[in-house]
Symmetry: C2
Subunit: 155 residues, 2 copies
DNA sequence: ATAATATTGTTGTAAATGCAACATATTTTT
DNA sequence: AAAAATATGTTGCATTTACAACAATATTAT
């Protein structure tokens, strides 16, 4: 008799999270397209992050959004070109850095997108008890912090 | 007074899952590199999926691994070239399709990788109660099935 | 029967991504 | 003081990815 109790990676929580993330990304991209939102998901996430971290520099933002410095710079180029953020040279620990902040126009865009997608995203979890959603979120966050301890970040 | 209760996308479970997935991918890629495993994570996931779905055709596999037909074909090209799967022409609903199966060498590689990474991956959740891990996995799976209902899959 | 549509896999292409290398400036080491 | 290392942002490149177009075949509609 063969070993039928084999543990498969594709049954693990790791793969489950990855698959869910991929699917979710598809859902949100399709939502953005349907709503004619003219920034990408990554730009939206970066804009939101900047809005709660006024005056952050590029490298620190890169660490938050888990992208490398190169692509973070490119995302910010796009957001700046669209007028949603402003960038300015400043110092951090005596070093010249590029800091940024959200503009009025960016804040308006952010609120517009939030209002457009909020109800739809909520509807996706409506069949799950709110306390379950919260518990899952807390557990995943704890797990993510564990991952941060062992991952090598080269940003 | 400004609205300090604003709900941010970056605080949502959607972003939490995406960030965790990104971080997890980094962790596993670094693990694969450290262990000198010579296939990619995607190839590994595909190989595992093939191992439990013997005789599956390419398009059906694409639906399982959530990649498009083009890239699924490319991943399989690589696995076939390395001798880990075999592909053969067959019919499904009277249509010519490319089916596949895992080879002896592929099964050996799969088991080798599993044995190498198992304990490490387990250690990442050792601080979380097993029942919590299971509950999270179930809730996410339920959520993923909700997503599958609304997403447009163009595979 | 002919035309239109659907299924499956491949090829081409443009965009996104990560990584290494570079430029500049500052800190630390020797 | 000179050299080495670090911090920050940008550029270039190779890989990955998604999407569209195509080729071949089978089914459905007219």
């Amino acid at each position: 008799m063969k070993n039928c109790n084999k543990v498969h990676y594709t049954d693990s929580i790791y793969y489950e999270i990855e698959q869910t993330s991929r699917l979710m990304k598809k859902v949100v991209v399709q939502l953005f397209t349907r709503l004619a939102i003219d920034i990408t998901m990554d730009e939206y996430a970066a804009l939101d992050t900047v809005s709660v971290n006024a005056g952050i520099c590029q490298r620190d933002l890169a660490k938050l959004i888990l992208k490398d410095r190169a692509n973070t710079g490119r995302i910010l180029d796009s957001l700046e070109q669209k007028g949603f953020i402003t960038r300015f040279i400043d110092t951090k620990n005596n070093r010249l850095v590029k800091k940024m902040g959200i503009t009025e126009s960016g804040l308006k865009e952010l609120n517009m997108i939030d209002s457009k997608i909020e109800s739809y995203l909520k509807s996706l979890t409506k069949k799950i008890a709110p306390e379950d959603v919260e518990r899952v979120q807390e557990t995943i966050k704890f797990y993510r912090l564990e991952l941060e301890k062992v991952v090598q970040i080269n940003i």
